[in-house]
Subunit: 174 residues, 2 copies
């Protein structure tokens, strides 16, 4: 499917309320457990999404529009949240993400993008040339992927509790 | 993690509003596309969840409580929705699922379950002996797995649109 900017907005705006619904008031045993060493808990994922709003999506869109391929993006620190989220409650993180996403969508509107601008190229430090359109598609998929990760990590907390049903629940072995 | 009935209720009640948030008013191109032959669209998944409320979870809990291992569960038709959902709008399906889930949770409360009752065994037609506790854990994981499926199927619609970012977005290749 080709990218449509109205779809990007429509899907991105749903992520904060979806995360609020899934995670607000959930016991710590569901929020803080992960899938094993070097994996992330639902709590970690929210921190990671916050860092994306602050340093990845809109900042990179602006670099593409202002500098094209002449300036590579600043590399994104995927694990910044392990320091940045420290001592913050899940409510605080969810509220921060909700605010930052609203600001991002506001800034997206203010870019007044045309179809031609969406084809403009920037330079990813590892992936090479990428278009603004590809950046926005990646933003949408990144959101959806992390919602999927959150529910997968949660489901694994019941990996033993389901007993023989494990054979019928593919999410437990992904 | 061991099953706690309050967690089961807490997570199961979140699924209908989560699906509403993800899917309501979404364009058909996001609702009706799947991952390829013999896979399900987000629309199909909602129909499947409806059929589960009607024929799987609470009905099986009652069979366990009433008949123990003396009567195997009726096999669950995983694909019943391809007939049952026909001609229904996504709004209709989402509303039906919301109502049925509320009824299921009401019935769950009315079972007045004790820890001893949760260890009661029933007979799965293929998996053999299973406990009520395992049934409820499977219900939770089944919900979470299908939320994960919905966002994965959606993300794949942008599998090409993300361009080189595909390498960094594992949800696209799961």
């Amino acid at each position: 499917m080709e990218l449509q900017l109205e779809d990007v907005r429509d899907i991105l705006r749903r992520t904060p309320p979806t995360l609020n619904l899934l995670l607000q008031d959930l016991p710590e045993r569901w929020l803080m457990n992960n899938e094993g060493p070097k994996t992330w808990s639902p709590y970690d994922v929210v921190g990671h999404l916050i860092h994306g709003e602050e340093t990845d999506w809109i900042p990179r869109a602006k670099i593409i529009l202002e500098h094209g391929e002449s300036r590579a993006f600043t590399p994104f620190n995927r694990e910044a949240m392990f320091e940045k989220s420290k001592f913050k409650s899940i409510d605080e993180l969810l509220n921060t993400f909700t605010e930052l996403r609203a600001e991002s969508l506001q800034q997206l509107d203010e870019l007044n993008l045309t179809p031609e601008m969406l084809e403009k190229r920037g330079l990813h430090p590892e992936l090479g040339p990428v278009t603004l359109s590809q950046l926005f598609a990646a933003w949408v998929v990144h959101d959806l992927g992390h919602i999927g990760q959150i529910v997968r990590v949660m489901s694994k907390q019941y990996g033993e509790a389901v007993g023989p049903w494990k054979a019928y629940l593919p999410v437990l072995t992904r």
